[in-house]
């Protein structure tokens, strides 16, 4: 990875990242506003039963769940769009072509961009968790034991969205295809989570990988994290493979 290219990208796109960090902080603040509703245990129980019968009804826990469940969408949206924009569009393609007129291997240009995306996603995740903890602590509750254990899973999930965005950015120029893929990803993210089968709860959602064994506080499923990590590596390699063959007209 070329550190100078990485630094240039950060300088160029720092405002955009700051804007998304602001959205994350705003989200956590908005979640804190729901706290009075969550104090109502009967309401929480009803909601929890509908969503997933295994979930407990601790108010602070619910607050955490709300904050954590919002972060994959916000972070994922940022990573998806940003990943696409790093490689898509006429001006971007021209600037990449201009860079490649210098004696730089393509993989260095690719890694610099992916490195920027990874660091931006990490920053967004950490900001999300810090502001989430702030919101929880402000309500006078304690942070659950497993709270920070969700961070690696959430980060990897956001990175995975970014890599899908990169792949689309390299392979497609279509504005509508991007949006369609994002909607499908969003549905996949939430919809199948907590689906009941006859004998146990079946989870197909990527959220399952992020949260690991969420109903049992204090434990994180390492296998899930490894699976998600491998998917991220595969996504990164696939994007690099596509970029290596990209024709910069």
């Amino acid at each position: 990875m070329r550190l100078d290219l990485f630094k240039d990208l950060w300088l160029e796109r720092r405002r955009r990242v700051a804007f998304w960090c602001g959205i994350v902080v705003g989200w956590c603040g908005a979640v804190a506003l729901f706290y009075p509703l969550l104090v109502d245990e009967a309401f929480v129980d009803r909601l929890a039963d509908r969503f997933n019968p295994f979930l407990e009804s601790q108010q602070a826990y619910w607050l955490l769940v709300l904050a954590v469940f919002g972060l994959p969408v916000i972070g994922g949206m940022f990573a998806f769009w940003e990943g696409g924009k790093l490689f898509k569009g006429q001006a971007v393609r021209h600037s990449i072509a201009f860079l490649l007129a210098y004696p730089l291997p393509r993989w260095q240009v690719y890694l610099s961009r992916v490195g920027y995306l990874l660091s931006a996603c990490f920053l967004l995740t950490v900001v999300g968790f810090l502001s989430g903890s702030g919101a929880i602590l402000l309500t006078g509750s304690q942070l659950p034991a497993s709270y920070w254990g969700f961070l690696p899973g959430l980060f990897l999930l956001i990175v995975l969205f970014g890599e899908v965005g990169i792949l689309l950015g390299v392979l497609s120029q279509s504005f509508w295809l991007d949006r369609l893929v994002w909607i499908i990803l969003l549905i996949l993210l939430y919809l199948p989570y907590g689906l009941d089968s006859s004998d146990s709860t079946v989870r197909y959602s990527p959220l399952f990988y992020m949260l690991g064994e969420l109903p049992l506080p204090g434990t994180i499923e390492v296998g899930n994290l490894l699976g998600l990590g491998l998917l991220c590596v595969a996504g990164g390699l696939l994007g690099g493979f596509a970029f290596e063959r990209l024709e910069l007209e």
Binding site: E12, H94, A97, L100, A101, Y102, P103, E247, L248, E249
Partner: protein, 300 residues
Amino acid sequence: MRYLVLRTENLTKEFHRRPALCGVTLEVDPGEVFGLLGPSGCGKSTLLHILLDFIRPSHGQALVLGMDCQRNGLKVRRLVGYLPQNLTLPKGVTAGHLLERFAALRGGVEMTFAHELATRFQLNLDMACERLSPADRRKVGLVQAFMHRPELILLDEPSRDLDTAAQMELYRLIAEFRAEGRSVVIASQSISEMERICDRVAVLHQGRVIAVERGAQLRARAIRKIEMRFANPINPQIFMGLNNINQLVCDQNKVYCTVLGDPDALLKTATQFRVLDIISQQPSLEEVYHTVYGIPAYAA
């Protein structure tokens, strides 16, 4: 065997089964200024992009400085300077810092020479890139293309947006590089520019090279539209004897015609009378394609 700076053999490129280049075979000698002339979409930029390995040919081969431009892409790009047609500069940095960045990316660049070039083009290096005019952006592009004194320089529409003074400076710079034995390949739509600075010009039409002309040949085959205004009405018969005059129209004291090649005979004939004004215009590329190469104007 003759050393060639650039050699393409039967170079073909198709985009989605639509040919962008068809069997282009070209040779450029050391110290030569070579032009690629043609309208937009005729394959000039595509050819330059293949030479820099931005895109890969469907068929054929391109050797730059004796190296295969795909297998030895990095080595080739180290020795080549390039000015793209569409130059996108980053925001938030000054032109000077940007040139330093480019120099660091390339390595081995004398910044004193880069500053000298910027002075020659009257480029203010302290100005932020987003505040640069299109002409100044072009100058940044030109400085970065020349600053490492490359063996071969590829310029895509170099004089676009430039004012006359900057154009003249560019032509002087190209002449200096040529005198040092370096080669320049210029893609342009401007016939006058090609006539002026190129030793040889490849004329492209729909991805094919339809002619490779020497600069002098191009000048000799150049067409000019001439409008002359005389102090008194003129008898058109006196111009009819001139064999390189076409489309002659006389309107009392005004004469309109097109001259193919050297206008010497026309001017000598005209100066027998009192000339009040003379306007010479270069015809459009489409007209030249039609008149010289027999390609219909709409097809160019």
